[in-house]
């Protein structure tokens, strides 16, 4: 039994009267890819935002290696070891590709600075296939490369857990298979990843386990094959008639 890295217990988030996430619990073990899936508006992104410190949970606890993340500001969560990408790509537009990655390396979980950080950033860029564009401004990049840069920045702090919020969204079919292979290679390196995703192919081929959310609650958990054949899950996605 491998070690549990991230533990969510009865996590709830209320926005006024709206309960976006309602008492969700799950564990993420080391070297595992955990998918959080569910229809639009089911609370997946809210969950990711609570883990990364963007939102403070209204109740419940989120622990990383036994340390409480709930209620900590985002920069502390990042330093404790949670790296993330954003649903809509966020790069630092005035900086070069390398500097974008250095931003993650300088202040993240494992901090590097100076020539050591430069070397590390370039290793990462080569690793993600961005070696050729390292010196360019980010405005010169293709869409998938902007996603890669964001991923490199998140990895640069060597997080314990990597959160990918719809990282594969918006890619064309060729890019999608490249993207899936890239994340697969990250998994093979032994990283721990939580991904929110809509692309079913990606979920099947990448996730070791999945949590399915609907209307803010967890309705299923298991391997992708198990949850995707679950009647409750099919009902949530397609409605009663098809279940």
């Amino acid at each position: 039994m491998s070690k549990i890295i991230l533990q969510a217990r009865d996590v709830t988030k209320r926005f006024g009267g709206l309960v976006a996430v309602n008492g969700v619990s799950f564990d993420v073990t080391e070297h595992q890819v955990m998918g959080i899936i569910g229809p639009n508006g089911s609370g997946k992104s809210t969950m990711i935002n609570m883990i990364s410190g963007s939102f403070v949970p209204s109740a419940g606890s989120i622990q990383l290696n036994g340390r409480e993340l709930a209620g900590q500001p985002a920069h502390k969560v990042a330093r404790l070891g949670v790296g993330r990408t954003f649903q809509l790509v966020r790069l630092l537009p005035e900086l070069t590709v390398t500097q974008n990655v250095l931003a993650g390396a300088a202040f993240g979980h494992r901090r590097r600075w100076g020539p050591e950080a430069e070397r590390f950033a370039h290793t990462l860029l080569d690793r993600l296939g961005l070696g050729q564009v390292a010196g360019l401004p980010v405005s010169a990049l293709t869409y998938i490369d902007t996603k890669r840069v964001e991923l490199a920045r998140a990895l640069a702090g060597e997080p314990e857990v990597l959160l990918l919020d719809e990282w594969l969204a918006g890619l064309n079919p060729t890019e999608l298979s490249t993207g899936i292979d890239l994340i697969k290679s990250l998994r093979d390196e032994g990283r721990t990843i939580i991904l929110v995703e809509h692309v079913m192919d990606a979920i099947r081929s990448l996730c070791d386990r999945c949590v399915v959310m609907s209307s803010g609650t967890k309705i299923a958990e298991g391997t992708p094959a198990e949850v995707l054949s679950d009647r409750e899950v099919i009902r949530a996605y397609l409605g009663d008639d098809d279940a």
Binding site: S52, H75, E94, G108, H109
Partner: protein
């Protein structure tokens, strides 16, 4: 340190040395102009250190400057003069830290308005205290000559440039650039954005207060309405933006032409100076979004020349 950095340091030291010679060789008129330029150089350059990378427009310069002049006004009879800019800088930094802790959680226009209000608030408080104690203004009569004031300002400007250069190379400087690009990314990359902003906001606060302390003897008579004049804050912003905040030397490229022009207009038509402020602002917005620095970079890119 690269050879290019060493070269830049040597060139800067030579330029500063050259500036120091002005009182020896220049006429009194140019010494007066030089003092004014040195004053705005300190204010605009230190302003740009914070506001350039973060894009937070601070209109608090007059507040810090005024505090500095009053430090000198209250202390010049009892303390050696050299301690006054130091005390003023410390006070300015503390005031900036307090203001920063309250306001830097705000963003955009709220920050601008608060900093503008700050100068007015400090002015009202000082006026109220003076009314309570029966004072009006204060005479600052010292034996300091204009050339001594000038040299002190040049020394202060050198310190500001040195600080700017060091910050630019530091992690703090990098953190500020990231914050200016995308504050959300900065937070999720592990940057304590509030702390970084407060720390850097203390630099212009200290520099402006020290400038005020050094310049108080030049005014001879100081009172709240002149010491905390909001116009100063706007002038500093316009000059810095005109020069461009992308480089350390940017603001000074705006300060020199603007001060000379301002002086020329003041002589011909004293009431039209505000027009210059407005025209310069329009020029920045419509023609020179990156200031002279941005223009310089664009031209260099267009006509060859790599880096």
């Amino acid at each position: 340190m690269s050879t290019r950095e060493i070269r830049n340091l040597i060139v800067s030291a030579l330029l500063i040395g050259l500036c120091c010679l002005l009182p020896v060789y220049g006429s009194p008129y140019w010494l007066t102009m030089g003092t004014t330029i040195a004053m705005y150089a300190v204010l605009s350059t230190s302003w740009a250190l914070f506001s350039g990378p973060t894009h937070y427009i601070s209109l608090a310069t007059a507040a810090f400057f005024g505090v500095g002049t009053f430090v000198t006004g209250l202390g010049f009879q009892d303390l050696p003069f050299w301690t006054l800019p130091v005390i003023a800088a410390a006070l300015g930094a503390v005031l900036a830290a307090l203001v920063g802790m309250v306001t830097l959680r705000l963003s955009g226009v709220y920050f601008v308005i608060f900093t503008l209000g700050l100068a007015e608030m400090v002015r009202q408080v000082v006026t109220w205290v003076q009314n309570q104690t029966g004072h009006r203004g204060m005479y600052v009569l010292t034996s300091l000559t204009e050339r001594e004031i000038y040299w002190m300002l040049i020394a202060l400007a050198s310190l500001v440039f040195l600080a700017g250069w060091l910050i630019g190379r530091s992690k703090l400087g990098f953190a500020l650039r990231i914050i200016g690009n995308d504050e959300t990314v900065a937070k999720h990359s592990g940057i304590d954005t509030a702390l970084a902003k407060v720390l850097l906001f203390m630099v212009p606060g200290a520099a402006a207060a020290a400038t005020g302390a050094i310049l108080a003897p030049r005014y001879i008579y100081i009172e709240p309405s002149t010491a905390f004049a909001p116009l100063l804050s706007f002038q500093v912003v316009i000059m810095a933006l005109l020069g461009g905040t992308g480089r350390l030397w940017g603001p000074i490229a705006g300060v020199i032409p603007f001060t000379l022009l301002w002086e020329a207009i003041t002589r011909q038509a004293p009431n039209q100076t505000l027009l210059l402020l407005g025209l310069a602002f329009l020029l920045i917005v419509y023609v020179l979004p990156g200031g002279f620095v941005g223009l310089w970079d664009r031209l260099r890119r267009r006509y060859g020349g790599n880096q």
